[in-house]
């Protein structure tokens, strides 16, 4: 039961977010509004972490699965991708490195110092997760 209760809560908040988006025309995506409501409910202890933790972890673990249909959908856009592969390559590569660097730099400069110990484990091989 515990798993299904969590699932019911998660789909409930999603629906609430979508409903808010549609009725009040708030310019945030419905699922993001649902996420904000959900965080508020957790903080106010209306929802307890134990109720949702397992379902949430399960959904997050398998998020890739839910995403596959979209990726397969690129079949319809092969010609577009082929025509613009170079700008796509430069755009994604360049922008991703820029975001990594700026975010990392700002995080490093603004941290309170006690968290600033160097990494000592097996980093830096650049292997894929």
């Amino acid at each position: 039961m515990e798993g299904l209760l969590g699932f019911a809560i998660l789909v409930g908040f999603n629906l609430a977010g979508v409903w808010l988006h549609n009725t009040l025309h708030i310019p945030l995506p419905g699922n993001v509004l649902g996420l904000v409501l959900f965080l508020a409910a957790l903080s106010l202890k209306v929802i307890r972490l134990e109720w949702v933790e397992r379902s949430a972890q399960y959904l997050l673990k398998h998020m890739l699965l839910f995403f596959i249909p979209y990726v397969v959908g690129i079949i319809a856009f092969f010609p577009v991708l082929q025509a613009h592969w170079f700008s796509i390559f430069v755009g994604i590569g360049g922008s991703t490195l820029a975001v990594l660097y700026v975010t990392g730099l700002v995080a490093k400069k603004l941290q309170s110092t006690d968290h600033n110990e160097p990494v000592t484990n097996k980093l830096g091989k650049g292997e894929a997760a």
Partner: protein, 229 residues
Amino acid sequence: MNAADLFQKIWFGLTITVVVYVAARALQQRIQWMHPMIVSAGVLISFLLISGLPLQQYKEGADLLSLLLGPATIALGVPIYKHRQHIKEQFRAVMLSITCGSIVGVASVSAIMFSFSGGKDIAMSMLPKSVSSPIAVEIAKSLGAVPELAAVFTVFTGIVGALVGTAFLRKLGIRDEVSLGIALGTAAHGFGTAKCLADSEKQGTFSGLAMGLMGVITSALFAVLFLII
């Protein structure tokens, strides 16, 4: 009933997606670099091209799975809530670095893509590329961009970030776990977080947190842009 009839059932797209995904995860247990997302998509795309099953028919069933991206987004609240203590301790560093990352992401894509003057659809669909996938797709829809392209760009971004992110940042002198985690989660969402978790739990924690906050902050950024324009 012949094979063609079977293809027409709404169950077919859903079933084949789940089966291929489970097999791809099992494969990754043996060969670690075979990412289940890439393998699954590759197998399914090849299958559709070879079998001649129309994309529309596949999607009819498979899209039911995508509905679960909604509750999966809500589920991002759990890691954020669990690590609220970290947010409090490092509030300024966490919020400002992710906000800067979000702005740099949108600005750099605009600058690069519009300087190539390639298709507007492509540029618009690339704007939310660093955001966790379910939110990126929603942002793309609200921008009038192409959700499928946004999905693919998001996956490419995740792969690039997870593959080179840690080494790249360490070369530039960013070596502490908090900064690495935040940067990879912000730039490369779930793929970056998976990479961080493989390196250390602390890094993974900050990365997961950054991934969730990046989705909220970027959505808010677009909402503000909409109000201004």
